[in-house]
Amino acid sequence: MKKLSLPIAVLALLIAISSFFYNQNSSKQVYVDVNKLMEGYNRTKIVKAEFQEKAKTLQSNVDSLVTDWQKELKLYEKERSNYSKKELELKQELLGNKQQQINNYQQAIQQQIQEEDKKASQTVINDINDYVKEFGKKNKHQIIFGASGSGNIMYADEDTDLTPEVLEGLNKEFDAK
């Protein structure tokens, strides 16, 4: 029994030392740069490209309506001398109404583009939030701050920046095949 007591004591000491360093490492305050994560995340590029494609289609619908209207306006200006007073009034009213409709449509499209942008960004934010949460739990961090460049973290030592590590894991998970 006496022979065993020394190795056991050494083992206990080693466990105590390693657990002290392990806990110290995981309990220190760390942060991630949210903007860098958003920019560096591979899904952001894909989502952005999809959104731009959608926005382009929507905008081109508006553009073709505007072009049609401009053509009609040009024709009206060219031939206005041939119209009677009543015809002129009617044509002006028609063109005015059409312009109003195009404006309304343009506003609706702008709103739709904003909504699509919001949805696309939220998807990326959800992914980042989920991953950071999982990362924190897995690595037993007590707290992970999210710096967004607006002054919520004024100074932090380089060692406390987990952004590269998190970004690597995030992209690895997204690109997994």
């Binding site: 939220q122 998807t123 959800n126 999982e134 997994a176 095949k177």
Partner: protein, 207 residues
Amino acid sequence: MGFVKKKKYLVFLIVPLLWNCSQKTFESEQDMWTYLNDPSNGYLQQKTINGFDFSIVQRPTDLLVKQELGDSLDIEKIKGLREKYSKYMYFNISMSKNNQELLSAAPKNRNEFGAMVNQLAFGMGDKVHLYTQQKDTIELADFIYPRMYGMSRSTTIMFVYPRNKQQLQGDYLNFTIEDLDLYTGEVKFKIPIKSISNEPQLSFKNE
């Protein structure tokens, strides 16, 4: 003598391991639901995004067996039903806002209401996806959306997927819900494969 001692240590090591891996068995549906609804057991996951609450709970095969079986305790019948239902995996998705169904909380006018009814009743197959870590999609077998007409606190839909052993490898499956025009973005849950392959059972004894 030393060998007997070693054996004792082995028992101490192996028993907790086996205990951990063994399937949990419950006497009643209520007991099983209590277990399933405890997030620490890994069967229920919850998220709140932009005021909308999302939750997913895996529904073990035996709960469906019990539903069809009723009070009968016919062993052959239980075996048959287990075989029938174990070919699929079942997930209940609940979505709500302020403890109300989506149809009561989200649409702002008749058009939006109509579009959402249509989406929930017929279009969820295009909005919900289950895929492996390697991005292999598991094709949806069916989904059931029972309309509750505002009497429930959440919109709950059951999704059914084929249980294919080849696809149940790795750590988890990804379950995603596309944005249902709620500005929540895509909502993702990671379903641990361990909880699918080791799902709890009912003992089917007299309660």
